[in-house]
């Protein structure tokens, strides 16, 4: 599926993500890493599960805010089949657990603190994601 290059929207959307991360640190003193927030809700459930559940509920309800703010149709193009989606989720779940974070925790929060671990993790997952996409689209998928 072809997508349109949206530098302005992506920059603004990214800025909102960064603003949310900054405010979460300012108000609650917590890192806005979605992996860590979700993981704390799985057994053994963290003692501080309430803010985690509230943050995720806010994320789930964000499409309504998007619609109310005049945003158009939310386009999502999914090329993977059902089995691939399940497998992909499973692999991501294991990877982010041992990798101690995902795009938000390392890519937005960790890099902003100039964390060497987050820099190493971000460069690694960007490289393997690019290699995987190349393999799926240009080697295997042709």
């Amino acid at each position: 599926m072809l997508t349109t290059f949206t530098p302005f929207q992506s920059l603004c959307g990214g800025a909102l993500i960064g603003l949310s991360a900054t405010l979460l640190m300012l108000l609650l003193g917590r890192v806005a890493g979605v992996t860590g927030i979700v993981a704390g809700l799985l057994p053994p459930v963290s003692h501080d599960w309430t803010w985690r559940a509230a943050f995720l509920a806010g994320m789930i309800f964000s499409p309504w805010l998007y619609a109310a703010a005049g945003g158009g149709v939310i386009a999502i193009g999914i090329s993977a089949g059902p089995a691939m989606l399940l497998a992909s989720g499973l692999i991501v779940g294991v990877g982010v657990s041992y990798g101690a974070g995902c795009t938000s925790g390392h890519g937005i929060c960790g890099l902003a603190r100039f964390s060497p671990r987050s820099l190493a993790a971000t460069l690694t997952f960007m490289a393997t994601a690019a290699a995987t996409v190349y393999f799926v689209r240009h080697v295997w998928g042709t």
């Binding site: 290059f5 949206t6 929207q9 603004c12 959307g13 993500i17 960064g18 603003l19 405010l23 979460l24 640190m25 300012l26 003193g29 917590r30 806005a32 890493g33 979605v34 057994p43 309430t50 803010w51 985690r52 806010g58 964000s62 499409p63 805010l65 945003g71 386009a75 999502i76 193009g77 999914i78 090329s79 993977a80 691939m84 989606l85 399940l86 497998a87 992909s88 989720g89 499973l90 692999i91 991501v92 779940g93 294991v94 990877g95 657990s97 990798g99 101690a100 938000s104 937005i108 929060c109 964390s115 060497p116 671990r117 190493a120 993790a121 960007m126 393997t128 994601a129 290699a131 995987t132």
Partner: protein, 146 residues
């Protein structure tokens, strides 16, 4: 107050995901497909997020404590380990297979499509299994970082 703040900030985060295009797996995959239908938008999402958060973080860290909590919970400074790199490498492979990452997924769960729910099921099983195994081994991958 803490709960309300977390709810609002989750909405702001999700709004950012939706506006930026990070919730669209096709857009994410196209960012990595330099040899094909390349869409560099994701770089602008990272740039926008980092620009605000680098400045914001410096500002916030001038305080001795957060406004609604006792202390800042920042991950301990630990070395780059093989586990970290291995885990990140595995994450990238899974991300490249579908275009979904945890942050991009949550805001599109309620759009009535089955694909995000299937990915979520796999994600929860993978996260849950790894978490239980780590707890048993008393291995904590500095949770606050993620």
């Amino acid at each position: 107050m803490r709960i309300l703040a977390a709810l609002m900030l989750g909405m702001l985060f999700g709004l950012g995901i939706l506006i930026s295009g990070m919730g669209n797996p096709a857009k994410v995959l196209n960012f990595f497909d330099v040899a094909g239908s390349w869409d560099p938008s994701l770089a602008f999402v990272m740039a926008g997020g980092l620009l605000v958060n680098v400045l914001g973080h410096q500002f916030v860290m001038r305080r001795s404590a957060p406004m609604l909590a006792q202390q800042f919970e920042l991950p301990a400074t630990s070395p780059v380990t093989g586990t970290l790199i291995g885990g990140a490498a595995v994450f990238g492979i899974g991300w490249g297979l579908s275009g979904f990452c945890p942050g991009g997924l949550i805001p599109v769960l309620g759009l009535g499509r089955s694909g995000p729910l299937l990915f979520l099921l796999g994600l929860l099983v993978g996260l849950g299994a790894a978490r239980l195994r780590m707890v048993r081994q008393r291995f904590t991958p500095s949770e606050a970082e993620s």
